[in-house]
């Protein structure tokens, strides 16, 4: 695919098995330190068990969300950053200029996706840059190319908007209005609406 004017992610939660190939492909390509996770896979699980006379009843559900930076149209990280290190380029790609970053972590506090990832070793924030080198060369970002289930796709924001309408989100993602992410989520059959607390982030230690 030629370099889109504005790249966007397309995530089909129905297909995601939570396998994390996307995350490890990213860690490998970018040689990320332990704890630095440019792409994270959140497990959202809910439902309850009750003991009844006829045995156990349950209404358990579970689904996964693979999320990196969404290169938002209203990027609070960029707005918050005091140094302009966190910046958005002409393609809407938000990245960190290590020459400017002061390592104050303010962007990571403000981003509702936890996308900016602080590197203790560098003393700077790091984050997904939409694999700019790959997509400029006409290849998909490595996470997209890694997904065994083909749940993760990418495309041009406007083109996708034309096809799919406005981006939408499901719990526990923030409302789209918070930062206007370039992320289209196809809801899993059990997905709960944004704001719902029926499902919990079930793997806090992994994201």
């Amino acid at each position: 695919m030629p370099m889109p004017a504005r790249p966007a992610f397309l995530f089909d939660s129905r297909l995601c098995t939570g396998c994390k190939a996307c995350m490890i492909a990213c860690k490998d390509k970018n040689d990320l330190d332990p704890g630095v996770r440019w792409r994270r896979v959140t497990e959202c699980t809910g439902g309850e068990w009750t003991r009844t006379a006829e045995g156990y009843r349950q209404n358990v559900f579970s689904y996964y969300l693979s999320v990196s930076c969404n290169h938002c149209e209203d990027p609070i990280c960029v707005q918050s950053c005091p140094t302009t290190a966190m910046h958005q380029d002409g393609n809407g790609i938000v990245s960190v200029d290590p020459k400017k970053c002061v390592g104050c972590k303010y962007c990571s506090w403000s981003c509702p996706y936890g996308a900016p990832q602080y590197s203790e070793r560098l003393g700077r924030m790091t984050k997904c840059d939409f694999c700019r080198d790959e997509i400029e060369a006409g290849r998909p970002p490595v996470c997209v190319a890694a997904c065994p289930s083909r749940a993760l796709q990418w495309g041009d924001l406007e083109a996708l908007r034309g096809k799919l309408g406005q981006p939408m989100a499901v719990a526990p993602l923030p409302p789209v209005s918070a930062t206007r992410p370039a992320l289209f989520v196809t809801p899993h059959r059990d997905a709960r609406p944004v704001g719902s607390t029926a499902g919990l982030k079930a793997n806090p230690e992994e994201v």
Binding site: R40, I76, V102, C104, Y106, L173
Partner: protein, 292 residues
């Protein structure tokens, strides 16, 4: 939990200095008012006012310098610190850093001016108060993030302004009582404005205490913080103690026991500082953003 000890110290100390620099002119006015209400010592009143502003400047300057140093400890790459002024257009953090720097500058200039005989000009003091206000405003906005509901409500402005007034008042009270060659000749006279300032400070502290309690209530039901109840309790109890000790200091001052009043005022300030630090740890602990 959100361990940001350097920011806990930084915000509380800056708020103390800013509060003091905001309150110093007010206290001076109060001192003059005291003079007008029957104390026949206009000049002495000026001196007392100056004693407050000098004391405040002498406290604020080192506190601000220390705060700026502490703030560097929060940074991963302190060498890039000058770059934090590059985004004044949209970043409240950038603005906060600007105004904190200005406030520190004012404090230092004031301290130098006050240290040299005649004292600082009202313009300079006014500038200091303005910088303090701007600093408080920007600092509040830094935490009023639209993605952090617990902070993006009344909690942040109430907690920050209350902390600034409370700690500032404490500094003013101590400054008003601090022994000084210029004015200590008429020891008895010094007691009255000292007592007024103390009474005011105690009032401010009580008011701040209520505000704090309200702010905390407003933050509920927020995210559950481990140890949160303990921190909230410590916070409010220490502030209440501080107010009580200030009241006692007022009585001491009225009884013309200036050294006794000073000791109590110092204790009250220490208690308030401890209470605010506990409250600030809790504040950072309440951090929880929407989304992932």
């Amino acid at each position: 939990m959100f361990h940001e000890w350097s920011l806990v110290l930084f915000t509380v100390l800056v708020q103390m200095a800013a509060g003091a620099m905001l309150l110093a002119p007010v206290a001076s006015l109060a001192g003059l008012a005291g003079a007008g209400s029957g104390v026949p010592a206009g000049l002495a009143g000026c001196s007392r006012a100056r004693r407050v502003s000098r004391g405040v400047a002498l406290v604020a300057a080192p506190v601000m310098a220390a705060s700026l140093l502490i703030s560097l400890l929060h940074l991963g790459t302190p060498l890039n610190a000058p770059k934090t002024l590059l985004h004044l257009g949209t970043s409240w953090l950038s603005r906060e850093i600007l105004f904190t720097g200005l406030l520190a500058l004012c404090a230092v200039v004031l301290a130098v001016a006050e240290g040299r005989g005649k004292g600082a000009s009202p313009v300079l003091r006014g500038a200091g108060a303005l910088a303090a206000a701007a600093c408080l405003l920007s600092m509040t906005n830094v935490y009023m993030l639209r993605t952090v509901p617990a902070w993006n409500g009344p909690l942040t402005p109430l907690a920050f302004v209350a902390a600034a007034l409370l700690l500032g008042a404490g500094v003013v009270a101590v400054a008003a009582l601090w022994p000084h060659a210029d004015t200590d000749a008429d020891g008895g006279e010094a007691a009255r404005p000292g007592a007024t300032a103390l009474a005011l400070a105690a009032l401010v502290t009580l008011a701040a205490l209520v505000v704090h309690a309200l702010a905390l209530l407003a933050a509920m039901p927020g995210p559950v913080v481990p140890g949160g109840m303990g921190l909230a309790t410590a916070h409010l109890v220490l502030l209440a103690l501080s107010a009580g000790v200030l009241l006692a200091a007022t009585l001491r001052a009225r009884a013309a026991d200036i050294p006794g009043a000073l000791r109590l005022a110092g204790l009250a300030l220490a208690l308030a500082l401890a209470g605010e630090l506990a409250g600030r740890v809790l504040f950072f602990g309440l951090y929880a953003r929407i989304g992932l």
